[in-house]
């Protein structure tokens, strides 16, 4: 429990050995390298800025190819988005592939493919536009080149929208005696027309056309019947589509290289990362230096590794600057480790305080269980998290957290009788043992007695809030500030507990013999808060004023405890919805013919959704209770996370043994 002890180090090495040293550090992944420009030695060494890295560009090219290949892949359904789709590979294969795989020719093929596809798509759009433009004229029986003005006759071809050709004709007949109007097509409010008229009447006719919003269309360079042109273009489109289809097949073929590309990408990305780290190295004429942090217990190992790999390099322990605090890594026993996720999400503790994770862990697990309160769901979560760990081949912290939450859920479900929301009425006879099991383990039914569940939620909240005060009290005592411990925490603990016990005794929940004691304890602690909670400044009026204001803070505690009522609602929501799903499934069973499949569908889909929604809700709200109600009682935070310089793999997971 607590924080990982850190050691600040400096490494000196011959300048020529820089790249070898960085490669070693990246491989070992144990040192967080500091930016020397922020160190006092900055004046004495030269730090070269690395701006442009070849490996970066290669990695980017490969990434783009991977992205375009993803389009051709057979999708693994919607769930594909969740797994992260990493390639699992052994170290040996990783190195073998980076050495032997000819990624450049694949990149070139992907590039060509993409270029061709873009070109074809552009042409496709053009052709489709052409067809769309020509198709209103497909009924025309005259080749387009013949619709041209002659010596005396002008022609206007175009579209009339919103007005009927008849109204146009009436208008035209007023100014022209010789015009002819041919309606090529007329659909709803759009008519496509050809109008022939004598050149002498040109101005008048054009004026009429303009006033009627006639949109002229010209096909100057086109020859032949529109429908023939359309047919020809359609053939073109077919051909392009066939070509695109062929390219797609080609793309699918290329997509088989994707896992290898992912591996090569990670290789170059690592190299780029390493080259960028060069700007963290300080150099003089002959010597290079690095400052950094390492986990204290790894120091000896690093010394050995560096001295073995890099000639005449030296690793030294150095003292941090007075105002410098080490980066933070949480260190907990295995059983608590999964819960570090919660603290890491909130922010790291600073270097001189305790890690709140083990203090929050039991509450978090219990609250999570409270939000689900269904043993059946708990079993599902436990199995699911174990399966995922197997599948991803990594004991991810979050998965262990779900596992722990699942166990708590089984416990909470068992004592409240939640088994997939089954009740006596909905249990089929062959599941009779569930009823027996349920009855043996069940302590109370929250559906029938929500007040008990409510009381339980608030009691847990009250315990956690006062526990937070106790933690801060201990911190104050350790910081040799007993006054703060007494007047900022002990007084409150006494006040809160005596008030609660007073109320409980009044209501007859506990023995009434101690009522006066509780009363006086509450009064004394309240007075102590008024008199001593504000201990700076001499003006007694100000001091008492602040004292009263601080006592008013009791409403904050009230709000804190009430906030735990959410546990009741979330727990009942899970159980209630589970019961609704079962009820609907029973109704579905009654449907003729498809009754049983429908029932199974409702049960599987409904319970899956219910687990997903409530597990998320349970996680988020249990975390929130830690963040808003618990941590602020004693936790400051503000530490920076320890981020060692290491391999960072985007697409691959390295394993030691082949699967």
């Amino acid at each position: 429990m607590g924080l990982m002890p850190m050691q600040k180090i400096a490494i000196f090495f011959p300048r020529s050995e820089r790249d070898r040293l960085l490669a070693l550090l990246q491989d070992k992944g144990s040192v967080q390298i500091l930016d020397l420009r922020e160190s006092p030695v900055a004046e004495d060494v030269e730090v070269s800025e690395v701006t442009s890295v070849e490996a970066d560009r290669t990695a980017n090219d490969i990434r783009r190819a991977i992205e375009s290949l993803s389009e051709f892949e057979e999708k693994g359904g919607i769930l594909g988005g969740f797994g992260g789709g990493k390639v699992i590979v052994t170290r040996e294969d990783f190195e073998k592939i980076t050495r032997e795989f000819d990624y450049q020719s694949v990149l070139k093929e992907v590039d060509d493919l993409e270029a061709k596809r873009t070109e074809l798509r552009t042409r496709l759009t053009q052709f489709e536009g052409f067809i769309a433009r020509l198709s209103p004229w497909s009924a025309l029986d005259v080749p387009l080149e013949e619709i041209a003005p002659t010596q005396h006759v002008a022609v206007a071809m175009g579209t009339l929208t919103g007005r009927t050709p008849e109204t146009l004709e009436i208008a035209l007949s007023e100014v022209s005696e010789t015009y002819t109007l041919e309606i090529v097509s007329h659909k709803e409010r759009v008519a496509n027309l050809i109008i022939w008229y004598h050149l002498d009447e040109r101005e008048a006719v054009e004026e009429i056309l303009r006033r009627n919003d006639f949109e002229a269309e010209t096909f100057e360079d086109l020859k032949g019947l529109p429908r023939q042109l359309i047919a020809q273009t359609r053939e073109e489109v077919e051909r392009i589509n066939a070509e695109l289809e062929a390219l797609r097949a080609k793309g699918q073929e290329l997509a088989s290289h994707k896992p290898k590309l992912m591996i090569v990408h990670d290789y170059f990305a690592q190299e780029a990362h390493r080259v960028h780290a060069q700007s963290l190295v300080g150099t003089t004429e002959r010597v290079g230096m690095i400052e950094g942090w390492i986990r204290r217990h790894e120091f000896d190992r690093l010394v050995k590794d560096v001295e073995a790999a890099v000639e005449s390099a030296e690793v030294l322990k150095i003292e941090p600057e007075p105002d410098e605090s080490p980066p933070i890594e949480l260190r907990n026993p295995r059983i608590v480790r999964p819960f570090e996720v919660i603290t890491e999400l909130y922010g790291m503790p600073h270097a001189r305080e305790v890690d709140p994770t083990p203090l929050a862990a039991p509450f978090f697990a219990l609250f999570f269980g409270f939000c689900l309160t269904d043993a059946g769901y708990g079993i599902v979560l436990v199995i699911l998290s174990l399966l995922l760990m197997r599948y991803l081949r990594a004991g991810h912290k979050l998965l262990w957290l779900i596992f722990a939450g699942g166990l708590a859920t089984i416990f909470m479900g068992a004592i409240t009788g939640g088994w997939f929301g089954l009740t006596e009425e909905t249990v089929p006879p062959w599941l009779g043992f569930v009823v027996t099991l349920r009855h043996t383990l069940m302590q109370f039914d929250p559906m029938k007695n929500p007040m008990l569940m409510f009381g339980l939620a608030l009691a847990l909240g009250f315990i956690q809030v006062t526990f937070g005060l106790i933690v801060e009290m201990i911190e104050n005592l350790r910081a040799r500030d007993p006054l703060a411990a007494i007047f900022d925490q002990v007084t409150w603990i006494v006040l809160l507990w005596s008030a609660v016990l007073f109320g409980a005794a009044k209501m007859g929940a506990i023995s009434q013999a101690h009522i006066p004691m509780f009363k006086w304890a509450a009064i004394v602690s309240a007075i102590a808060i008024i008199g001593f909670s504000h201990r700076v400044g001499k003006n007694p009026v100000v001091r008492l004023g602040w004292g009263f204001y601080n006592l008013y803070g009791i409403t904050g505690y009230l709000g804190d405890v009430l906030s735990y009522a959410r546990l009741l609602a979330l727990g009942l929501a899970t159980g209630g919805i589970a019961m609704v799903i079962n009820a609907v499934a029973l109704m579905a069973k009654g449907i003729p013919v498809i009754g049983y499949p429908a029932m199974i569908l409702v049960l599987a889909g409904g319970h899956t959704l219910n687990i997903a929604v409530n597990a998320l809700g349970g996680f988020v709200h249990s975390a929130r209770l830690q963040y808003v109600e618990f941590y602020p009682k004693f936790f400051e935070g503000g530490g920076k996370r320890f981020k060692p310089f290491a391999r960072e793999l985007k697409y691959t997971t390295l394993v030691d043994k082949p699967s």
């Binding site: 919607i78 988005g81 969740f82 999400l345 009425e425 559906m447 929500p450 007040m451 409510f454 906030s563 009522a565 959410r566 009741l568 609602a569 979330l570 009942l572 929501a573 209630g576 919805i577 019961m579 609704v580 009820a583 929604v613 998320l616 809700g617 988020v620 709200h621 975390a623 929130r624 963040y627 808003v628």
Partner: protein, 159 residues
Amino acid sequence: MDPIGLAIAIFGAAISAFLAGTGSAIGIATAAQTADGVLSEDPEKFGKLLILVALPGTQGIYGLLGTFLVIQKLGLVGGGVASLNLWQGFQIFFASLPVAIAGLFSALHQGKTCAAGVELTAKRPDEMMKGVIYAAMVETYAIFGLVATILLLNGIKLG
């Protein structure tokens, strides 16, 4: 037994699923539209954004639970409808309002908070959970609405 009392009680049951569900639908739409924009740039984020998009859906579930609790209280499924008078009908109706109305507004505003969370995730994917936690703050009051409804329904005695 007063049929109008029963009708009013059922109105209460209906309104909690109706209002909270409406809020959830709109809230999810708000978040989903923003998420779609992000996906157009980066489809890989689908799984991450799904959580933020789904979050305003819980109010609808709380509303449905409110409906279900009233149905259970009245014995509407499985025969044996409880007999209740006009005033008891009103009691159940009023008891349904906290989850209905708090659920409606909480879902609307959680939708906006989640949309902002989606933008946060677009720029800094690692910080997604922080957006989720903020959104959960908005949800608190729908949960309290549900708590109020549960406690109120529990307090109503049907003879």
